[in-house]
Symmetry: C2
Subunit: 237 residues, 2 copies
Amino acid sequence: MKQNAPFETGCMHCNVRLNSVFKVLDEDQVNDLCIHKSCAVYKKGQYVFTENGLPAGLFCINSGKIKLTTTGYDGKEQILRLVKSGDIVGYRALLSNERYNCSAVTLEDASICIIDKKYFFDAITSSPKLMFEVVKKMSNDLKVAEDHIVSLSQKSVRERMAEALLFLKATYGFEEDNQTINVSLSREEIADYVGTSTESCIRLLSEFNNDKLIFLKGKKISIINLQKLIQTANIED
Amino acid sequence: MKQNAPFETGCMHCNVRLNSVFKVLDEDQVNDLCIHKSCAVYKKGQYVFTENGLPAGLFCINSGKIKLTTTGYDGKEQILRLVKSGDIVGYRALLSNERYNCSAVTLEDASICIIDKKYFFDAITSSPKLMFEVVKKMSNDLKVAEDHIVSLSQKSVRERMAEALLFLKATYGFEEDNQTINVSLSREEIADYVGTSTESCIRLLSEFNNDKLIFLKGKKISIINLQKLIQTANIED
DNA sequence: TAATTTATATGATTTATATCATATAATGCC
DNA sequence: GGCATTATATGATATAAATCATATAAATTA
């Protein structure tokens, strides 16, 4: 299909490479990378890898959005990270030589490349620049996780809900209208990220909608009063 | 002072080096490391570094225990990580070339070395083994943080409290009596780790004490019914 | 297109936990 | 060693948010 054309022409012409950890590679290295990767198209809702699985390589998102999710207690899901094109996925388990501790599921149709494990280790060993890019990525994920811990420990569900919407906006941006968050998540998925019940999530979104902070249309959420949403996300006493 | 003697004789004879990321260095590299570090003794409660500060190097704990803590909303503290001898501290900000996003405070008198920033970057660039050790450390911290997120999202305060005691035991071990957790934290500090109020923390510890899961003596906590504590840490319905 | 399933919505009730209040114990300090 | 401060303890109350229940809307599939 025509829309997949750039995806098929290799890493050198990959439209997201300069947005990824591989931006630091020179032309020869990119060509080398290209030889050691293979790509696949995933339908919405497909698993890219699953909890407890063994990593066979590094995933790099060409297009599409992905959630990293783990099964907590009582079977309840927890969304740990949200991933967009240009991001690498599955690097943690790969680098520490462990099994995956979460599953990766596509939130929409996606094109994803997998980079051979052995090649990846060679590449980061021979290219400190690439290694530092990966390290920076992990460092950022750690920072985001620790921010999330503080939020979960100290904020109300209401505050975290507002914060989550700002986070979604920061991660996926707006659509052309400049106010609709460019991702479709079910209420349950949002709840699984915020750490609340689906009902509370629905209730709070309705409330924000009534208070004209946001505008709901199906799964689409538009931010119509950013200022007040930011306020709501912070302490409000 | 005599008790500091091994600490003063350099990295080659450091009693915790084989327990640290530097275990992978050969003799020459260790001697090189030794030249580029300096050591200091800290009193209990001292700051090793503070939030928003710029990293000057990598800290390596020779002895003593440390908490990494961040100021959340309304000035409330959040303990993000607990650190023991042999651990490195401050590596995240250093590697990603950012300011510290948390403070490091000693929980008891401590001996801590600081390894020169420039040297450290040279060392990890020239020694992939060392780099991988540091990466593994960060990978583990990320995993622990994400486990904490799931716990905060899905467990009750009571469950998290029991979990925290098991975590303290796993981190710092027992004293000679084989049941007293080898760390002294105030109730407030425990609350700041668990993500609850000081009162709830006190109340739950009292309750565990009454229920003979633990035995309290001042700040010392002994686990006297591990089985039941493990049960309490999990879902109990 | 009707039938079934799943998602969203909202009300009613319960409950865990924060908050406020006060007491006692422990610790640090002049 | 007595005084001030801080930490621990515990009761009373308020409340946010979970849970249970039911209704409606949307999406899937037969």
